[in-house]
Amino acid sequence: MVMNKKLLLVLAFILSFGILSAGQNAFADFTQYTIVGAIGDKETNEKLVFGFNETPYLYMKLPDTGNVFTGSFWRDPDASISYVSTKNTGPEASHISASGSGLISGLDRWITLSNWDTVKKVGEWEVNSNYFHTNGSTGFSTASFTVTPEPIAMVLFVIGGLPIAASLYRNRNKNAITV
């Protein structure tokens, strides 16, 4: 009975926390927010794994027309950060910051790091972004993707590692017989 009461108290506190959090974080998300393999009007299908020689793009579909700014933090497997922003100030005027490249087309934006080939690393990446409309509305989303090593690197690793493994195995057997 005492245990049930304590449990109820904890649950009530957690519930109040959750309800208020939900209320205060009620920004509208991006309509679509995903990592894709290329840019262009038809490139909106999610891709989660990239080879070392592929380029990941962040695709964002905004919920509103108008003048909108977006900011994206790209976090690499070692937690280093790169930042790319986009802005449009009218039908003809759009801009991607120098650290990024991509395409802005109406509500759709594709971006990647302009120095991707320099900073790419094997492992899990995370991209956190927000949008900000001149009328004050804002939203936030996050996505992750993985970069895998080049196939040839894996093959070389295995080829190079086999003789060493074989040698270790032979030495172990030799020592066993001696004993």
Binding site: A12, L15, F17, N67, R75, Y83, T89
Partner: protein, 163 residues
């Protein structure tokens, strides 16, 4: 017994709400701690009325998590609801000032609303807003009055003559 338990639950619920921080991330508030307009870069004296010869600056005071960098940007909405983005700033600076680079071209008398956004590398996202007014120059008002009074007098004399 049931009533007592219900009362306890209600009190705990209320306590949870009362002690809830504004930003529910990790019980700490990150984002804007202050946002208002001033008359110059580096000033922290609030000013919300400007004449056309003055340049308003937006002052932002920020709470940024340790190890994070934060981007801020603002949208300046004029009395006719035309909006202009300021430049954005990405840094660890907790005090920032920004102006509209094209203020001289776009300044209009009336009430302006600035919406500002904070977004940091740990995913904290916040907005805030501030208003200010641009009033006509005193000289302009004086000239308007000086030019208008003779016209009003002439009109009145004409009306009196007609009667």
């Amino acid at each position: 017994m049931i009533k007592r338990n219900l009362l306890t639950l209600t009190l705990v619920f209320a306590a949870g709400i009362l002690f809830m921080p504004a930003n529910a991330s990790a019980f700490q508030v990150f984002g804007f701690t202050n946002l208002y307009t001033t008359d110059s870069f580096g000033s922290t004296t609030p000013q919300d009325i400007f004449n056309p010869e003055e340049t308003p600056y937006l002052y932002m005071s920020l709470a940024i998590p340790d190890g994070a960098v934060a981007n801020t940007i603002s949208a300046w909405n004029d009395p006719d609801s035309l909006a202009y983005f300021s430049s954005s700033a990405l840094s660890t600076d907790t005090e920032r000032w920004v102006e509209l680079s094209n203020w001289a071209d776009v300044q209009t008398s009336g009430k302006w609303t600035i919406n500002a956004n904070y977004f940091d590398s740990l995913g904290n996202n916040a907005i805030a807003s501030a208003d200010f007014n641009v009033v006509p120059e005193p000289t302009t008002m004086s000239l308007l009055l000086l030019g208008g009074i003779p016209m009003l007098l002439k009109r009145k004399r004409k009306q009196t003559k007609n009667i």
